[in-house]
Amino acid sequence: MKEGFRQAMAWLHTWTGLIFGWLLFAIFMTGTMSYFKEEISHWTQPEVPNRALDPAASLDLAQRYLQEHAPTAGSWFIELPNAREPALSVSWPKAGGGRRDFTSKTLDPATGAELQARETRGGNFFYRFHFQLEMPHPWGRWLSTFAAFIMLLGLVTGIITHKKIFKEFFTFRPGKGQRSWLDGHNAIGVLVLPFHLMISYSSLVIFMAMVMPASIIASYGDNTRGFFNDLFGGQSQVQAAGTAAPLLPLPQLYAKVQEQAPGANLAWVEVQNPGDQNARVRFARHAGDRIAHQRGGGWLFDGVNGTLEGGSQIEATPVLISGGMYGLHMGIFAGPWLRWLYFFFGLAGTAVIGTGLVMWLGKRQLKHAKSGTQPFELRLVEVLNIASMSGLLIGVAAFFWANRLLPIGLEGRADWETNCFFLLWALSLVHAMLRRGRRAWAEQLGFGALMWAGLPLLNGLTTGQGLNHSLAVGDWAMAGFDLTALASGLFLAWAASKMWRAPVVAAKRAPKAAPGKLIESEVN
């Protein structure tokens, strides 16, 4: 920090990277998985069948179901099935419950029959963990947003530190211990740099109203509601008139939406005051129809006479930029190929963080290689590295094992799944404390490999929807999950086998290697 600008930036890169690396690894890992949130949810609820999509028919079935089971509810909420998520779900506020207290049911989109799907949080768990970290509101969001800022800082300081960014991009020296890690860290970091910059900056934009509210307060004073109303159009709740009137069939209103915007995909439909003179029906467009995210968009109808009462939307440049950032981050618009690209970019981000953590430690361990003992702080970092990386992978696999093995009717089943995730993660921390570094890596990676590679088998045995079935009927979400789990298992097995072997003693080579010195001066 006392030396030149670049050294100061390298110092900042090293230490912010170390302190936030473990957290960022988990955030990136679960965020990457969230690009396949719907597919994961589908895997975790194998009871929900894949049907041909017919939104009008699904709406009709949902309306019949709600008419029968919740005729007096103040509002209905219908989530339509789509190409990635086959479930049709309906929900309504519980009588006498709080504002967020809902009864929800999953229906078969072809018959309208109630489905008894296992209770699970599915892909939603990893999605929520990615930005809330299972912490009480709003602390998890604050912490993950700050971590995103540190990621952005790490990228910028990394670019400043890394002076020969393009020359060294083509430099990769495998099998050279510490130097291979640095080359890998640099190559992946630079290759996916635009994605990394976008993903970390956009996460700040997503939560900007929460983390940077000063300008809202300066401009709107106490009336923060006014700001959101200006942006998204006020979504005022219409009071019930108290006189009964039949609700129009929803497929009829759906046809009107299709007249307005042919081919529009819908995400959900909300009915306010069903069965009342003042019924209102809101159709929300699926976010995948456009890149820029748009809140409060859609169509609002009078539910009794069917007139359109649409709301206006600002489409000014700043709104489009911030909505675009949001949309790019979530990637809901992405088709299968782009979605896989997102997934691999996310994995690359995870790898950059992981290699950075490994390097920090490796570099410092070299100095203690001869004495054979390492100081407490290095041992601490080693344990945390192991638990935060291989331990997390074991925890995630444990979640899916629990999903298949816990009894269907278990009280609080969804919570037990997440408990298994945290329990195995915590156990891996204990294991890392008890075993020596390299051995701990090897054992955990090996165990992780078994768990991941075993998932397709477990799925086939417990649900009868294993790869032989899913590939045959073309259930790509199910097959894709199983194949990805298998590939992850193989990758972990490869990593474990590397760790089982005797370590490459880079310490012996270090004095000889003159070019290594140059790089060493860049990052410490």
């Binding site: 920090m1 600008f5 050294q7 100061a8 930036m9 110092w11 900042l12 090293t14 800022f149 952005l152 800082l153 910028v156 300081t157 900056y201 700040l204 934009v205 900007m208 109203a209 940077m212 000063a214 300008s215 809202i216 300066a218 401009s219 709107y220 700001f227 200006d230 942006l231 600002i314 000014a316 440049t317 700043p318 709104v319 930029i321 911030s322 950032m325 410092r364 100095k367 100081p375 702080e377 410490n524």
Partner: protein, 101 residues
């Protein structure tokens, strides 16, 4: 900055702590003041100005953070975030007063 962590003098550690505080809190203050200033000065509708201010504020935070660790001393780090914050606050105050006399 080799890993001689145990041998570092206490004054050095205090200076690093001070810089970190300046970066996290001072930097945030600077970013917030910048976002307010941009919001009040941009000649676009209110909601859009707010969004622009919020989006740009993170760049100020970033630069403030870099400054706090790039400058020569911890005192400079604090001065470098507090003085611009004060200036931005005064400009914002003026702009606010002209809008709401």
């Amino acid at each position: 900055m080799k890993s001689k962590a145990a041998g570092l003098p206490i004054s050095y550690r205090l200076a690093v702590t001070s810089r970190s505080l300046a970066a996290v809190f001072g930097g945030y203050l600077l970013a917030a003041m910048a976002s307010v200033c941009i919001t009040l000065l941009l000649p676009v509708p209110r909601a859009e100005a707010v969004i622009s201010g919020m989006m740009l504020s993170f760049l100020f935070y970033l630069v403030a953070f870099l400054w706090c660790f790039a400058c020569r001393s911890a005192w400079q780090a604090w001065l470098g975030v507090l003085v611009p914050s004060l200036v931005l606050a005064m400009i914002s105050g003026l702009a606010y007063w002209m809008k709401n006399p």
